[in-house]
Amino acid sequence: MAEEIGRGAEAVITRDGDRVTKWRRPKGYRLKPLDDRIRRERTVMESRLISEARRCGVPTPIIFDVDNFSLTMEHIDGIKLKDVIDPALSEKAGELAGRLHACGIVHGDLTTSNMILKDGKIYFIDFGLAFHDHSLEAQGVDVHVFFQTVRSSHDSSEELVDAFLRGYARTYSRAGDVLKRVREIEGRGRYL
């Protein structure tokens, strides 16, 4: 039996054994043709980005099925990075984020809740807000979001931030420029 394991602003996530299904709910405020189009496009785009990220060297769930408004994929049976993060894991997460950005993918919600540790490997999940973008701004926002979650939920956060940056710089040549942009974004005081 499938059981509901998550519900966001956009989708409902259910789990059935080793599979999870993400179903984008219809929105009553959107005209049906527009609503169908957006839900379909996003579902397809999400599955593409998940597979593409894996080809770029970032572990992600395997996609089993894409059907109109829902995406069925492998359930990563691990533990959220949020609950176990240490400098070594943060550095590893930085490496993966660097690979993702070098590939031209922006995750869009790069929090430690969207990173799962399983058998010593970190998986990135939830590409619902991900998109293709090579700009420093988009990459900067990604890194900024990661720093924010780390700073708001972990002690010795600066150690984790520094470790992340070490990993990030190892896999991404523009890391220095992105970091500069992150500082600028922080200065602007934007919430997200």
């Binding site: 602003a9 929105k27 009553g28 405020y29 959107r30 527009l34 807000l129 934007r190 919430y191 997200l192």
Partner: protein, 336 residues
């Protein structure tokens, strides 16, 4: 502006507010309870969009009668003015300077403090005052702004905003391109009512941010091939769905239970309907102030000035320089 106004000793606070960031020059007098008087003069260009210098000249020409009307009301009711509030930004530089100059003169004339108000925050504060919303996610949509905001750790934080032009600007641009007279929004809304078909247009939401420039261009292109009513409706449906989506996301993220709609584009009934549906689906409450408090008005500046004054926030002459790029999250909200 002749004789001194008598001081009242009933603990009532009376603030004069001046707004004039763009089209509308407006002065108002408020106290804690309500608006006592408001006077407006709106700049209407001969053709095309707003011209900053001409708008500023308009404001300068109409300043004396607009201010006199509310001073007459104060005199009639025997009210003493406790502070002069003005919109310090964001807005068009020349317009802001005209208003700031008048505000400084009035503050000196009455010997009362000056309060520089952030225009966006004034929209939010008057909305809360007039609807009873307490801690909403705010969708602020107007000719110059498209933002989703909420109060978090003492500041109105921007959760999402446009990456290029505002939704009102996109509406106006499209309306001009298809030959609809100014203001385009109401005309577009009226036309959209007779639409039969949805024409796909670019829907651009990036995380919490929006983009409207591609939409107005694509809609103008579509108008060459399709029925104008259909394009108008499709424009509204697309642009508003983007706004509602980001508002919903902010609601979920900030874990709030209220939505407040402010700004001139909030007059659109389809946008209201869509927000209302979203709120019902999420179990949130939806608030919209009366029409007169939606667009730019002096009362919102006067009221925000009043709450700031009561929290001890005033603006010295040295700090009263206008701020065309004034951001909402630069203001520490000390009155809540």
């Amino acid at each position: 502006m002749g004789e001194n106004l008598d001081k009242r000793e009933d603990g009532r606070t009376v603030v004069l507010g001046l707004e004039g960031t763009a089209w509308n020059l407006s002065s108002a007098l408020v106290d804690e309870e309500d608006v006592i008087a408001e006077e407006n003069a709106t700049y209407v260009p001969a053709k095309g969009g707003i011209h900053p210098r001409e708008a500023a000249q308009h404001h300068a020409e109409h300043m004396a009668p607009v201010v006199k009307a509310v001073l007459d009301a104060a005199r009639r009711d025997g009210l003493a003015i406790d502070a002069v509030a003005f919109s310090q930004g964001p807005g068009l530089g020349p317009c802001l300077r005209t208003v700031a100059t008048a505000a400084r003169a009035l503050s000196l004339r009455f010997g009362v403090p000056l309060v520089g108000v952030n225009h966006c925050i004034a929209h939010i504060e008057v909305g809360k005052w007039k609807t009873g919303a307490t801690d909403p996610v705010v969708l602020y949509v107007s000719g110059g702004n498209s933002q989703v905001l909420a109060l978090r750790r003492g500041r109105y934080r921007i959760f999402g905003e446009t990456l290029d032009i505002s939704v009102g600007n996109a509406l106006d641009k499209f309306a001009r391109q298809v030959g609809l007279p100014h203001p385009g929004g109401p005309k577009l809304e009226a036309l959209a009512k007779s639409a039969k078909e949805y024409i796909p247009l670019p829907y651009v939401v990036k995380g919490m941010d929006l983009s409207f420039s591609g939409l107005s261009t694509a809609a103008a292109q579509a108008a060459k091939k399709h029925d104008l009513a259909d394009v108008c409706s499709s424009f509204q449906e697309t642009a508003f769905a983007m706004l509602v989506e980001v508002t919903e996301r902010a609601l979920a993220h900030a874990e709030k239970k209220e939505v407040l709609l402010v700004g001139g584009v909030g007059a659109n009934s389809r946008l209201r309907e869509m927000l209302n549906i979203m709120c019902e689906e999420r179990g949130a409450r939806f608030y919209v102030p009366e029409m007169r408090f939606m667009g730019d008005n002096g009362s919102m500046i006067a009221y925000t000035g009043l709450v700031m004054l009561k929290a001890g926030v005033t603006t010295s002459l040295a700090e009263s320089r206008v701020r065309p790029g004034y951001r909402t999250d630069e203001v520490e909200v000390r009155w809540r």
